[in-house]
Symmetry: C2
Subunit: 198 residues, 2 copies
């Protein structure tokens, strides 16, 4: 019954993560019923992002400016660099506001299975940034997956010749984690990295 314009919008929305055909239809209905309050603002916001969208040539972040807002931020510590797999990881880490330094997005992880080789990632650019100097510590914030850890190992090898401190995120119990429900891998990591009680 829906016109082809409505059908097209439903399908475009349904392709977003977290929305399926059913919720997309509900969203379209909402947009159509609240034209002024909902449809027009979304349209304007989308237009603004589409017009300014760019990938930061320094760190690989996706932002509406190049260099991105993080690379431009003068209050950040240039001596700290955090390497992440994906832009989503950068966003997740930065939301916590715990890391005061800069970032570097690899654009993926090494994967023999998927045929992702070092030259497919932004690794040369990372080495270049580190070799340019001024960086004291590089935090390898890869995912705690086999491929993430393989990537971290590879990066550690590539970066070991530089006079920097190489660190990685701690592995162990997540906050709120109950031993009973955690996988053996996490338990093994938590046990291996056990610390003296302060």
């Amino acid at each position: 019954m829906a016109s082809h314009q409505i059908e097209a919008l439903t399908q475009a929305l349904a392709r977003l993560p977290g929305l399926g055909p059913r919720s997309a239809r509900r969203a379209v209905l909402h947009l159509m019923k609240k034209r002024e309050a909902s449809l027009e603002p979304l349209l304007a916001a989308l237009r603004a992002v589409a017009d300014t969208l760019s990938t930061c040539s320094t760190c690989g972040n996706v932002d509406t400016s190049d260099p991105c807002s993080i690379c431009r931020d003068a209050k950040r510590d240039d001596r700290l660099l955090c390497v992440v797999e994906e832009v989503a990881d950068l966003w997740a880490l930065d939301r916590s506001r715990l890391f005061p330094g800069r970032y570097h997005v690899l654009g993926g992880r090494l994967s023999a299975l998927e045929g992702v080789r070092p030259e497919d990632l932004s690794i040369d650019r990372l080495v270049q940034r580190v070799s340019a100097g001024g960086i004291d510590e590089v935090v390898l914030a890869m995912n705690a997956t086999l491929e993430g850890q393989t990537t971290a190992h590879y990066l550690a090898e590539r970066l070991e010749k530089f006079p920097i401190r190489l660190t990685q995120l701690a592995h162990g119990l997540p906050v709120g984690g109950e031993l009973d429900y955690l996988d053996e891998g996490t338990l093994a990591q938590a046990l291996r990295a056990r610390r003296p009680v302060a």
Copy 2:
């Protein structure tokens, strides 16, 4: 860390039903990473709907044309009219493709609590459509709520003077419903409306 354009887009998406701040952020990231495949098509689809959006002056449906595609459809049965509370109800019913007639959207339900009176709904327009003749049956497809049923009763009174058949949706067990899990109201309705085994 996100620019104000990205923040604005995240907020606009988060206001859609079914999306919260977290999933909106994920959706924005997806849109930014897949500019050609995702952002541009969504933008175009939204623009197309915004440019053509209108409320059908005949039935109250929201569509990209007036009269809407249902009112224009020559294959539909003019003698059957289905009255619903909201546009969403019309869409839900019409998706089932079981109803071959036309629709009438009231734009809400009578509600003493919310101060919705008959003149706030598209009831005069409904009476006008029925009194114009050519309609054999009016299906009152209100929600099975107190307010929906109050509205149906009111409509039945307003329409009883016309030579039409007034019907309403059957109440009873939903398909797949297990007695054990159904509320007493539904069970009472199902029992009251019990039919001889064919």
